[in-house]
Subunit: 402 residues, 2 copies
């Protein structure tokens, strides 16, 4: 019944520990808390056990924090495909180029991973009302999973966030508010609401469980590659929960011996319009500074200052990774290439990973024979404004030009 090996919460900065039966957000030192597991118990699990399980992130339930299966709120999240990029690989001279397509998850983005685990845990903790700031996609995901869980969800997003994510929140019955400002402004509104009303704060890294859902990306990748660790993973970075989760998952898998010493080099991709992590990495710093006048078409990564910036940078440094910023016009070019040559219609954040790969190859940071996995975090459907369709309208009696 209790498959989860969850043990306790641990501060990511000062290592203070907390128990998991009560609602808990940040450490008293102000840093994010991370879920820790009984690693001896986890180590008794065999990889082969997974084979017989349903193709969903819930197959990794020992590594996830939900104690009772009855609390699992799921929309049937599939294992997302890892697709070989033959045509673009050929053009770049790369033989081992893959893209993991998170765009097929229920709300069209990887945010579902965090939401299915985070909302399930919120339900397990007895939460009735939660609130979060978002750049759109996380809010949409938490709105629908909260609806399924019977939890009231308040969502605050910038008015410039993709309009379709408003629909997802609204139709799911969330209490939706826009803010004339950035996600950091939404964050301040959320802080005050949490203070005034005692609602569950589901802000990025202010609840410790969303990251556990994101962690399953690397577990799927490794299982799909027969536990052969790729050389490089390229990841678009806003709040950074994905890259932190990937690194956390890698460490856990190494600890229980499912993978050997080798770690993939983790690449954090940002837009030149909002690149605080890239700047910090270039300067060799352990934390980022708030980015001024942040703006990019890749709205999901328009995060001026991530709460977990030090964890993102740590993951990059520890894996000999790097951080790289991409111009918006290169992002759009990569989006078109992915659709035209591979048939994959990705969001701009996902497209940025291809642009980054091309740049890193030119710089010889990447070698053509390395095994490289790009993370596409969402479907292009949510960003109709990134494609400017030129089209001819015919009358029924007119012909298609030959």
């Amino acid at each position: 019944m209790t498959a989860s090996c969850l043990s306790h919460l641990e501060c990511s900065r000062c290592s203070m520990t907390y128990e998991t039966s009560l609602e808990k957000h940040l450490c008293s030192c102000g840093a994010p808390l991370l879920a820790r597991y009984d690693m001896k118990k986890l180590a008794r699990l065999k990889k082969e056990t997974l084979n017989a399980r349903a193709p969903s992130l819930w197959r990794y339930r020992e590594f996830l924090p939900i104690i009772s299966d009855d609390n699992i709120i799921t929309l049937g999240e599939p294992i997302t495909p890892i697709i070989s990029m033959q045509e673009i690989g050929l053009r770049l001279g790369m033989k081992n180029l893959w893209i993991k397509d998170e765009g097929i998850l229920p709300t069209g983005t990887f945010k579902c991973r965090g939401a299915t685990v985070g909302v399930s845990k919120a339900k397990e903790l007895g939460v009735e009302t939660l609130i979060m700031p978002t750049n759109g996609n996380a809010g949409a995901a938490w709105a629908v999973y909260s609806a399924r869980a019977g939890i009231n969800a308040y969502v605050v997003m910038p008015e410039d966030a993709p309009a379709i994510t408003r629909n997802e929140c609204y139709v799911a019955g969330a209490y939706l508010y826009l803010v004339h400002g950035l996600i950091s402004d939404a964050g301040k509104i959320v802080n005050r609401a949490v203070e005034s009303h005692g609602w569950y704060d589901a802000s990025t890294l202010k609840e410790p469980y969303r990251i556990e859902g994101k962690k399953t990306m690397i577990m799927e990748i490794l299982e799909q590659l027969n536990w052969d660790v790729p050389d490089v993973i390229v990841y678009p970075t806003g709040g950074g929960v994905g890259i932190i989760g990937i690194y956390k998952g890698l460490c856990e898998l190494k600890e229980i011996g499912w993978i050997n010493k080798k770690m993939p080099r983790l690449v954090s991709v940002q837009s030149t319009g909002c690149a605080p992590i890239v700047k910090a990495w270039q300067e060799g710093k352990m934390e980022s500074e708030p980015w001024q006048h942040a703006t990019t078409i890749a709205f999901g990564i328009n995060v001026p200052k991530a709460l977990g910036d030090f964890l993102i940078l740590d993951a990059i440094y520890k894996t000999n990774g790097c951080a790289i910023a991409i111009e918006d016009h290169e992002i759009l070019k990569a989006q078109a290439s992915l659709a035209k040559y591979e048939g994959i219609y990705v969001c701009p954040e996902g497209a940025a990973t291809l642009a980054a790969t091309i740049s890193l190859l030119e710089q010889s940071w990447l070698l053509p024979n390395e095994k490289v996995v790009l993370l596409n975090t969402g479907t292009g459907l949510i960003y109709p404004d990134t494609v400017h369709v030129r089209v001819t309208t015919l009358k029924p009696e007119e012909d298609v030009p030959g």
Copy 2:
């Protein structure tokens, strides 16, 4: 290497047969052709063999028409989830209500099934250029799979089709044309282009393989329900390839003994704004008449006259099913209910199946204890205009009302 048990093509009306190695569209009598398999060979396959295969419709490859695996064009289509509708079920007094969510497929709709199989077969046949009329979603799916296959795709769609489907076609490099008219007008333009240029006609039921992809919906449903045949399947019907495919799949599975005699009753759902199948069924006819002034928000089922109408009606009659038309405002109400109570954001076509279920329950055509599966054919993301978001914009210093 050759897993497919494909044997020949057979006319759905006059039973004339054709070989499969050459490009073939309609029978000389004008009716659609259906793929037929070596049923003795198929019958040697064991259900249990499937268990070890990857979670994708390609696990059913013996039942599919692709001879060489090298020709398979895939974007990693997952097995789509079949989600229990506990909350709505409770409200309706139904204990066994399920929805199969096709919205998580790569282009956001069930059209991917037809496209992955249809484009793969086109590649196997050496097709260089194909053309099709579409209400949007099929064109989008065929555009991206054609891009991946290196096949030129011409797509002609009504100017009223969902705008986002234009993006998918355009970004994938398809030759996209709009028509001031309905899908039937697009069809006429396509007919002339096929005549003039000799392009591969990928119109609904004018190539025999798309239906084979759609057939896998019922195979997944049955496998997900441990081969326990549901009582009723509710399906939104435009061109009707899905319902024809489901019925074809059921017949094949019965023939090889994977299911027993019992068939699910198949329900064809249309909009009151375009209900040619419903009218024909109500009048006990074997074919439909072209619907005049067709219009509905459920654009995918805005098909005034389906080429395979007689096959749709046959599937309904043979399974003791029915056909039912739903008002657009009931469709929108059902869409909102599915999001609010179950967390599933569906397209209007999918929402129509819930409205139909409610109506059939009221009429006692359905009984509360029956096992009912609704088919959601696509994600709500593609139809932003169906949700009218009312939202307040805050200044950063303003508070969320408590």
